[in-house]
């Protein structure tokens, strides 16, 4: 029994070392590679849950997001840690944020679709900003003249917003829908 507890601790240590040193989230498949196929998925999940609760009262938390698991500083440290990087993180313009929202909620969409909803032309730089951030990409082309690109959000977008799936996005206000039938 004693021995088993020890070996579980060892397995958790490997996971902890891997997760603390990986700058990318780790997917279950990647973590299984650590054990060279000698571990069941169910066991891995159990170990991750234990590791998560081991860190419950600590500075970082183990979270599951779209592309896997990662450690991140608890939100309460955000302000203090922000003092380390003097340059303010980029603030996105309304054009960028609204374009992102349209792609997130209506995907896949073309540039034309976005323009239709926003009522203004979409600057190419807006789309490029989002592509460079790794938040959207082109997943195909609509089969109409001009074959416009179809944009969708990426896993990276969900990861960066701490989400596991699109369903976890804030609810879009759909209330007017019924009332709309004037």
């Amino acid at each position: 029994m004693m021995q088993e507890t020890q070996s579980i601790q060892k397995l958790k240590n490997v996971l902890e070392a891997a997760l603390l040193t990986s700058s990318q989230p780790l997917a279950l498949e990647e973590m299984l590679r650590l054990f060279e196929g000698k571990m069941e998925r169910a066991t891995l999940r159990m170990l991750l849950d234990e590791l998560k609760s081991d860190w419950n009262e600590r500075t970082l938390e183990l979270v599951q997001i779209a592309s896997g698991w990662r450690f991140q500083a608890r939100l309460e440290y955000a302000k203090v840690l922000g003092r380390l990087s003097p340059e303010k993180p980029a603030k996105y313009s309304r054009a960028v944020l609204e374009t992102l929202a349209i792609i997130a909620y209506k995907q896949p969409v073309t540039r034309g679709d976005i323009e239709e909803i926003r009522g203004v032309a979409v600057n190419q730089a807006v789309l490029r900003t989002l592509i460079e951030r790794g938040w959207i990409d082109v997943i195909g082309h609509r089969d109409v003249p001009g074959r416009p690109s179809l944009f969708a959000t990426t896993k990276n977008f969900l990861d960066d917003l701490n989400l596991r799936s699109l369903q976890e996005l804030p609810a879009i206000d759909n209330l007017p829908q019924q009332e709309m039938e004037i």
Binding site: A78, Y92, V120, P176, I182
Partner: protein, 260 residues
């Protein structure tokens, strides 16, 4: 302070005064226009500001308010995006269609405002949810990800770049930068640019060179011509300065930055 001169016209009549809350100091107009993300955004602002019922818009009022805005933008000679003018036309069309008698049985779905209302509501929903998304904690902003280091046993392999990758990248740059599309880079030009860098590197090291030192006669005429073209291009782009004290005295070449 003098009252502002108003040159806006509504239905061909000059408007004596604008609604109080619509008044924007002319110098702030540009900033204000920037604050709107387009005609839908402006319409939403007007509707919400005047507490109008979005589901039963009084088209006459809304059109009037919208037009006085657009007129003010005109009066201030701001370059008005076509989107705003298109919306003016649409509002006027809806307004005029509402004046036409409608067959009773079609009344419901034939409300000329329906499409506008649908678009306004859809845009408003997006606008609100965009703010919510922005408020979520983000990696790089509020979220800091663990990234302690470890000694890689396997050496990190640096990405490789093939000539093909570079060509693809360059082509996509050219496709985007329209003003460059007619400006194809030829081999000769590349060679000139390479020699521009070579000359600047040498000037960086030596500070100043005599004109003839730039050229290495043994490298052949072709090479000398390239160096000469590179020097001319550097001068044209203001990256080097050439000086000569008197006629027939030596010409000196120096990087512009060292002149100061």
């Amino acid at each position: 302070m003098l009252p502002p001169v108003i040159s806006a016209r509504l239905h061909g009549e000059p408007i004596a005064s604008l609604p109080q809350d619509l008044y924007i100091p002319p110098e702030a107009l540009e900033v204000y226009l920037d604050a709107f993300e387009g005609p839908l955004d402006l319409l939403l602002y007007l509707i919400r500001k005047h507490n109008l019922d979005i589901l039963d818009i009084r088209m006459a009022d809304l059109t009037q308010q919208y037009m006085s805005y657009v007129d003010k933008m005109h009066a201030a000679k701001l370059e008005l995006a076509a989107d705003y003018l298109l919306m003016s036309a649409m509002l006027i069309e809806i307004k005029s269609r509402m004046l036409l008698p409608r067959p009773v049985e079609l009344e419901q779905e034939d409300d000329p405002r329906a499409e506008l209302v649908r678009r306004l509501l859809e845009y408003e929903a997006i606008k609100l949810v965009a703010q919510k998304i922005d408020a979520l904690p983000q990696v790089g902003r509020e979220l800091l990800v663990a990234q302690a280091c470890f000694e890689h046993v396997a050496k990190v392999q640096l990405p490789t770049v093939e000539m093909e990758d570079l060509l693809v990248a360059w082509r996509s740059v050219l496709e985007r930068a329209k003003h460059y599309t007619h400006h194809h880079i030829s081999r000769e030009e590349l060679s000139v640019r390479e020699h521009m860098s070579l000359i600047l590197r040498r000037l960086q090291q030596d500070g100043m060179l005599e004109f003839t030192q730039i050229f290495v006669v043994s490298e052949g005429v072709q090479k000398m011509v390239t160096y000469f073209l590179a020097l001319l291009e550097l001068a044209r782009e203001g990256l080097v300065k050439m000086t000569q004290q008197a006629a027939y005295s030596p010409i000196y070449v120096q990087a512009s930055e060292h002149m100061a």
